[in-house]
Symmetry: D2
Amino acid sequence: MAIVEVTIVPLGTGDTSVSKYVAKCHEVLKKETEVKHMLTPMGTVLEGDLDKILAAIRKMHEVPFGEGAKRVSTQIKIDDRRDKQSSMTGKMESVESKL
Amino acid sequence: MAIVEVTIVPLGTGDTSVSKYVAKCHEVLKKETEVKHMLTPMGTVLEGDLDKILAAIRKMHEVPFGEGAKRVSTQIKIDDRRDKQSSMTGKMESVESKL
Amino acid sequence: MAIVEVTIVPLGTGDTSVSKYVAKCHEVLKKETEVKHMLTPMGTVLEGDLDKILAAIRKMHEVPFGEGAKRVSTQIKIDDRRDKQSSMTGKMESVESKL
Amino acid sequence: MAIVEVTIVPLGTGDTSVSKYVAKCHEVLKKETEVKHMLTPMGTVLEGDLDKILAAIRKMHEVPFGEGAKRVSTQIKIDDRRDKQSSMTGKMESVESKL
């Protein structure tokens, strides 16, 4: 199980807003029932099997092109820990318990 | 007002866990009363005046060194929008309203 | 054709140096003859078909685990432009011609 | 001495090309004589005193706004190693010596 953050932005669209593209990407995620997701102010965090997550991101990356974008910048940050079970909520609780 | 995501990790500590360093960084943030912050599974999102945020991050970057780390990797992603007022919660609501 | 930057670092290894892991990742790239690569001080830049690049990165991501790491942080930045042919050298020349 | 990668892109400009903004940012760097810089296909790598580097990046971040952009996305990746002297060329040579 990996935890992955993804941010997908179109360049050169003539519109400073990107929320419509993010929303369309989340429609892709609704069908990916084996991948958990959490929206943050700066991206989307995914949790699940790494290959399933990467396959979902590959589909999400196509979304802005489908909406007319000619250039897309996609950033992916993988946190893959294999010495213990990790989760999105577990990571946050681990920090909060130390505060 | 900018929105900034920061992730700070020590390298070569011999311990796969980083939550103790994140918690110490959040102690720095408690004193930065003009900068709002939100913990996510993959980092911390800050909202406020860009220069105040960058000054806070500069202090946070020193935290792992103070805890004994010899190498620190810090990533900063700035989203600076000047055509309209932006906020952490506003960005998420803008996506959610389109879902 | 996409241009992709990747950075792969193990966490918790007890050694601040990561060059041995980077070198092993580049051995993977030697076999990926359809993906061009360029080493930079902060990562590796890849050029080629996006799916072939992502498949190569998937193999590179396993390298530190094979060397004993228990946690790996992998960052991927995709620049996918479809309105014109793009290349690593072309992008740099485009900037340099304007200087 | 730290090594820092920076990528600055304007959003919503209506033009998929960003090289003109990168070139203008490099004009800022020409005046920052205490900060070394290296152009890569995906960003710019800086080497020097961390505070001097961050001050230079702060100026670079304003460049696209000066050119008319309304939203700027700036990414900064700091590699700060304090157990030994590090440099852009040294990091690459360390990997290449192991290949």
